[in-house]
Amino acid sequence: MGANGGAAAKPQPPRKSATGAKVITVTSGKGGVGKTTTTANIGVALARLDQRVVLIDADLGLRNLDIIMGLENRIVYDLVDVVEGRCKLRQAMIKHKQLPELYLIPAAQTRDKTAVSPADMIKMADQMRPEFDFILIDCPAGIERGFRNAVAPADEVLIVTNPEVSAVRDADRIIGLLEAEGKKTPHLILNRVKTEMIRKGEMLSPEDVTDILAIKLIGIVPEDENVVSSSNSGMPLAFLDGSRAGTAYRNIARRLMGENVPFMQLDDNSGFLKRIQRLFGGQTG
């Protein structure tokens, strides 16, 4: 079902969402910092929390959210097919087998990047809002058309960065662009944090980064080699309990749902103090 279930009746009567889905765009400026990994894991984590979730891969020409999700063999239609009217929106939505409330709309792999406009993205998101709780958009790197498309329908933006000078600089640029567009202040996810290096003073700490960027953190994700093995098998870490990065992603999902989740311990010896909470948005008090 799902991808090629166009002719068949809808699998089940859609639940109407009381308020409509929240549209969240995951962006960064710089490439390779973990946007796709983050989108996949937060999506899985939200679906495990019984949320109805659609993931949209907005990285036209370089799709890989389907790979990370393990759904690459089930693609029939893509985002550009929807926009250009070759299929219905529902036909391009691939339903996840283990999590039936989780869908993916894949990016086109070969098409012209200008095939999609910000207005198309807003229209598509609005069409899905009534039937879902979260719509997550995986943004391409850069600040061009693909970025504009991805943030156009966003109610909330998550900025992923790494504790490195160039990644933080690009994050700042993105924050400035969102400010200029009058978007709500984004939240920050600091990915690939190495506690040991921070302890030695050899890496920017979460506090350094929030000092500099002056936005609130919604998650700190440790460097975790399980991220690679889970990508290899097409099963995002958030499927499993136990890994540190997976737990960090699941905590982010809970915070997005409005839960007050204390910071997990990144390190067994020292751990995080409660006061770390002040680095976070209001929902964590």
Partner: protein, 111 residues
């Protein structure tokens, strides 16, 4: 104020490459945010000083004009001390006499 993480991790005081990264970022971002490269900033500083010098004598050794970030809003902060007014060339008049107190007067040795 020492950072939370500094206290938590007992981080060595500002010697590692982490604090270097922070310093560099602060410099880079301040220029990114106002979209003014360092050379242009220097030109602007010189011009500001020129204008002020037209009206008063500036103590140019102690001028401090710098960019600052207040949250995400950049600002230019200028500390431009003036030279003391010199009314005439009598050297005695240059350093003002210490304020007199009766006590001190009493202690003072007659010269």
């Amino acid at each position: 104020m020492p950072g939370l993480f500094d206290r938590m991790f007992g981080r060595a005081p500002k010697t590692g490459s982490g604090s270097k990264a922070k310093e560099r970022l602060q410099f880079i971002l301040i220029h990114d945010r106002i979209n003014l490269p360092p050379e242009r900033l220097e030109a602007m500083k010189a011009e500001i000083l020129q204008v002020i010098s037209k009206y008063v004598s500036v103590d140019s050794n102690n001028v401090d004009i710098a960019l600052q970030n207040r949250e995400r809003t950049p600002a230019i902060v200028a500390d431009i001390p003036f030279n003391k007014m010199i009314e005439h060339d009598d050297p005695d008049e240059d350093d003002p006499k210490p304020p007199k107190s009766p006590q001190k007067d009493a202690e003072k040795k007659p010269e």
